[in-house]
Amino acid sequence: MKNRYKKVYSLSHQAGYRNYTVKDLLDLKGRKKMTQINVISPAEASAAETAGIDMIITGTNRLKEIREAAPNTFLTCGPNYTGHETKEKMMKEVFELVRIGVDSIHTNSWNINFIKYLSEFKIPFQGHVGLVPMKSTWTGGVKPVGKKSSEAIKIYNDIKKLEEIGAWAVEVECVPEDVLGEITKKTDILTISIGSGKHGDIQFLFGEDILGYNLSSAKTPRHAKKYNNFNKIHEKLQKVRIQAFKEYQNDVQNKKFPSKNNVVLAEKKELEKFKKLIKNL
């Protein structure tokens, strides 16, 4: 696996190495099935990079650590719009993310005018259509979107709008496979499927669901595939932690810790001198 990374400048002019530029990704449309994973920790990010996952995406919480853990993987970050009441303030946060080293922004459920403003800076971004959790009250809750042709048309129009504004990709969530199949052929931007079938240019899953642990959802969603049982691994790990702390507690109570090799001693002469000194206090 030589020459996996190419030399690039990041959006904030840092020289570095990446697996893809945005142009590479666009050129690969229709030629290569790619993968994207949502990661929430440096450990997941680093594992994704080692495993050769094509793209990772994360929130703003641990971005810096995650960028450092996977410095060579195309990284998208999704800042929440609710902390920013104007497009200028929104951009201020985007610039901070760019400085940390993101390669692309996830615009999720932003105001369309904010997205247009972002595009004026030529900062690569991906949008989000179909079941968009933060907008799901408009589509009737947590359920598929696009089973009616009228809904499918709406999704198509949303994607075309994003394409016009200059998105490089769009996450398509819980849309019928055949619908995304048709749309993928009719758009130049990359379609990222989560629960929307195999015709997406990119398959997207949460690290959490691949690994099989549950933080954000009560159970692994139907569209996901679980490759391990990290709930169980975490449980085992916790048992080892408890055991370690119990052994320590026992050692202290039984005066087995600290032992001679854990301590320092004052010489006899100094000790006697000290005893005399404090006697008079």
Binding site: A47, I53, P144, D178, G197, I210, K225, Q249, P258
Partner: protein
Amino acid sequence: MKKKYKRVFSINNDLGYRNYTVRDIIQLKGKKKLTQVRVTNAEEAAAAEEAGIDLLLTGPGPEFSKIRKAAAKTFMTVGVPFIQNPSKREATKKAFEVIEAGADSLMCQNWNLDWMKHLSKFRIPFQSHVGFIPRRTTWIGGIRSFGKKANEALELFKDIKDIEETGAWGIEVELVPENILDIITKRTSLVTISIGSGISADAQFLFAEDILGQSKIEFPRHAKKYKNFNKILEDIQKERILAFKQYKKDVQKNKYPTKKHVISIDKIELNNFRKFLKKN
């Protein structure tokens, strides 16, 4: 091993359960060896409570509320950094914040004595720190034990007495000769908490990361490693990598997603949609 928790009001007036009140801890001086562990996340805190660790210490960072919830019944001391709170007023303000978040006691490391006296007027329990103090290393000439010479031991004793006078309940004593702390422990009403200062202290204190063997720095001589978490975490990371590799392979070989992962659409609706696309 059934643990007994007693009903208490926390300092911020929440009704709950705790293993100790500060009075219990003070009364156990000389009667029972206690343990204190410094935790940095909710998993460590929960494990410590489950293991029956007596006291917990942690920082006031964003993890604190999760840590408090994870070990809701263990006497918990929280550090209030002086450097971000450069006046008595600001330090007290931060102390109140930490108490509102559920601390049972504060760690006033490097605090000005006068600030501690002020805090004590609110009857807020706190512990402090003497001996080798990382931030004050420059005064003792580097990272070394403190109190091997009689005059240093005397200085240490006076420091402890000064802190006793402020109204503290406990004192972390770091890297002090065992036979010196032995003498001092008997001459102070403070609960002495040893880290690297020997067996005679009232309580033993270690970092969770050292107990677990998860430290990224060289392992300190005073600590005891009960597990090799660095190795365990490496193995888990291998599992992560493997899972992600399998996912990638599945996608490349069209093995994921399959029928059971996708949503289907009615033929009529699909045809309507196709007709629309043809026109656009």
